[in-house]
Amino acid sequence: MAVVQDVHGHHDHHPSGIMRWVMTTNHKDIGTLYLWFSFAMFLVGGFLAMGIRAELFMPGIQILEPELFNSFTTLHGLIMVFGAIMPAFVGLANWQVPMMIGAPDMAFARMNNWSFWLLPVAGMLLISSFFVPGGAAAGGWTFYPPLSAQGGLGVDMMIFAIHILGASSIMGAINIITTILNMRAPGMTLMKMPMFVWTWLITAYLLVLVMPVLAGTVTMLLTDRHFGTSFFNAAGGGDPVLFQHIFWFFGHPEVYIMILPAFGIVSEIVPTFSRKPLFGYASMVYATASIAILSCIVWAHHMFTAGMPTVGQLFFMYATMLIAVPTGVKVFNWTATMWRGSLTFETPMLFAIGFIFLFVIGGFSGVICAIVPIDIQVQDTYYVIAHFHYVLVSGALFAIFGGVYYWLPKWCGRMYDVKLANMHFWLSMIFFNVAFFVQHFLGLAGMPRRIPDYSLQFADFNMISSIGAFGFGLSQILFLYIVIKCIRSGEKAADKPWEGANTLEWTLPSPAPYHSFETPPVIK
């Protein structure tokens, strides 16, 4: 009897030290691992970005030889997309989805552990590929063949890393879908779910749809490289453009995979600090779903210069422009949520407003890129670089920062240093624009992307852009300091530190208990 009681008493026991993290099946521990991993990758990707901007600081070749420069741009893209942004959103989902739907944990706890621990392996493969003979992959993050068929071992390591990352993403997505569909508290119908949960549900479906396509195309590349197939080689009856179609069939939904959860975070933050319910909840859900569906039929707008029939170009132009409609609905809904609210401007709200402001600029340049004749001018130039950094950095990344500041008090029961956090926002906001706004004009004036050296007319704007990039990079060290300071010595935070918040996680104590909701809350 005593033995039985003892076993029961240790029901909650988990290993301590490093083994706690290796063996954990807890959604909060795994969420924490995801977030720290993505921050580490963010620093690696950021280091590569600093290298790129240092080389481009002035004309001529100073620090990076052209081939190494190409490896830097390639790995910067891959590490930021697959290592930093995507895992950060999965980390936020791990922490927040169970708490927001009133569940104790994720549905598949062990698979959750596995899908995280695949990531460091893939990350190490990507980073260590710099040190193998031939160097890291240098064909761009889109690794178009035949160029990607030319690289050495680094390309194979990249292919393997992408397979692993894809497997991890698919498992993560299945876990999120299952959790959301099966583990909601009684009374929480789909149309009562918080927007963050909705956007992640839709994102997870997109992941399950397109990650296998990416896995397929990198496998075809692998067999072309080593086993004599000719999927992408014209000499053997293949077609290099086929790769682009398959890649972008994954690649375009992928950009929405990186922005839909950001929409979700902003849709949580804006109502909280406006002290007013989200305007047009139902239309937000429908807009998210339509963006996801449309995102699957616009891929070839990345390929307007590859050569396509007139009808093809027109179809992809119209479909792409159509995405502006549901995206516009979202922006209008956020504005209407703020309208006649009772606004306060805590750090999460600053990041949310910064997000809306800059994401709209990225959206505008997106519409401009959708127009075929203009796209043919700006395709593969710095205009495109500016466009997607406006949606990925001031879009996805700002939303992640906003989400971290919003939920940090719930995660660790402590408040961040408000002054420093606001400073982090303003520094990021200013330096981001210094770095990327001028790149629109570089692109329009004719500077191609992925070049290590440029003609003299581009010199002054490149220098401005580099200064902005260095400032932006340094500002992120401040973020690391703020988070560590908060965890170690932040002031105690209330269970509900934000007056206007009313999703389920705020009904839990701060810090949130290990098994979020052991008895499901009842939603009226």
């Binding site: 001529g60 070749i61 100073q62 190409n70 240098a138 761009g140 178009y144 080689n233 290099p240 453009v241 406006s274 002290r275 007013k276 319910p277 305007f279 047009g280 239309s283 210069t305 590859a306 029939p309 170009q313 027109l314 132009m317 422009m321 502006a324 409609v325 516009g328 703020m338 309208w339 006649r340 609210g341 009772s342 606004l343 306060t344 809306i356 709209v360 600029i361 505008f364 519409v367 401009i368 127009i371 075929v372 004749p373 203009i374 043919i376 001018q377 395709q379 593969d380 004009f441 329009l444 004036a445 004719g446 191609p448 992925r450 070049i451 290590p452 050296d453 440029y454 003609s455 003299l456």
Partner: protein, 282 residues
């Protein structure tokens, strides 16, 4: 009720017009002669592209001012710190239908001229001269296939001295945008450029003509342009093609009809001489 907002209204009006002034001054300084904007259009397609971009920019500016005018009014006036109490409305079907329909109409307005340009861009029929541009790692090869100058064939490589790249010499005016053999075409004639590649993807891009086309190994694609004015027009490879992707510029020299005829005759004579020498050598 509205009385108390009068002063804030004038503040907003002031802010709004200041923003407008800033953006329009930017728009006017970003004309065709600015080095930070489109190069001056030199073909009908480039001109239409330029006009559509300016049109789209004005639309974006108008939407930006409306949306952020509302948002910043809200940020200024609807704050808790000035004692504003939150309303509790959360949807309005009418408003939502309006802000779905209006953007749709605006987009149709933008798509219409673009559609006409796309159809025009694709019409490569009946060219005066056809030139094949072949991308190599890392230079361009040009073959005049049809029209005046048929049979001319040469390579075109970066001519910037290595010393300038390494910073051992001052960089020249056309640093990285100069080649040993310019592509020469006559003014006012329809030039069809067929692109292909020898090894990996490249892209043949001359901004002033509104032309950019990937060059794909094993396949051919085509584009056309008609240069409006004589002169020298510079572009670069626009598809990552390996180590020296940044070092394969495109330089097009547009000549008057008689000068072009002269150039073509000289070029043919020179290549004939080369062939003769080779024959004698054998």
């Amino acid at each position: 009720m509205w009385g108390e907002y009068m002063s804030s209204k004038s503040v907003m009006a002031l802010l709004g017009s200041a923003t407008l002034a800033l953006y329009s001054s930017m728009a006017f300084s970003l004309d065709e002669t600015s080095k930070y904007f489109h190069p001056q259009p030199n073909s009908i397609i480039a001109q239409e592209t330029y006009d559509q971009h300016i049109f789209a920019l004005w639309i974006c500016l108008a939407i930006f001012i409306v949306v952020f005018g509302v948002m910043f009014y809200s940020i200024l006036k609807h704050r808790k710190s000035v004692g504003y109490k939150a309303a509790n409305f959360h949807h309005s079907t009418v408003v939502e239908i309006i802000w779905t329909t209006i953007p749709l109409l605006i987009l149709i307005g933008m798509a219409f001229p673009a559609t006409k340009t796309v159809v025009a861009m694709k019409d490569t029929s009946e060219p005066d001269i056809t030139i094949k541009a072949t991308g190599y790692q890392w230079m361009w090869g040009y073959d005049y296939l049809q029209g005046e100058g048929e049979g001319i064939s040469f390579f075109s490589k970066l001519s910037t001295p290595t010393a300038q790249l390494e910073g051992k010499e001052a960089k020249g005016e056309n640093y990285l945008l100069e080649v040993d053999n310019n592509l020469v075409v006559p003014v006012g004639k329809k030039i069809r450029v067929i692109t292909t590649a020898n090894d990996v993807l490249h892209a043949w891009w001359v901004p002033a003509f509104g032309v950019k086309q990937d060059a794909i190994p094993g396949f051919i694609r085509d584009v056309w342009f008609t240069a409006d004015r004589p002169g020298i027009y510079r572009g670069q490879c626009a598809e990552l093609c390996g180590k020296d992707h940044g070092y394969m510029p495109i330089v097009v020299e547009v000549l008057e009809a008689d000068k072009y005829a002269q150039w073509a005759a000289d070029k043919k004579k020179a290549s004939a001489a080369v062939v003769n020498t080779a024959a004698v050598g054998n």
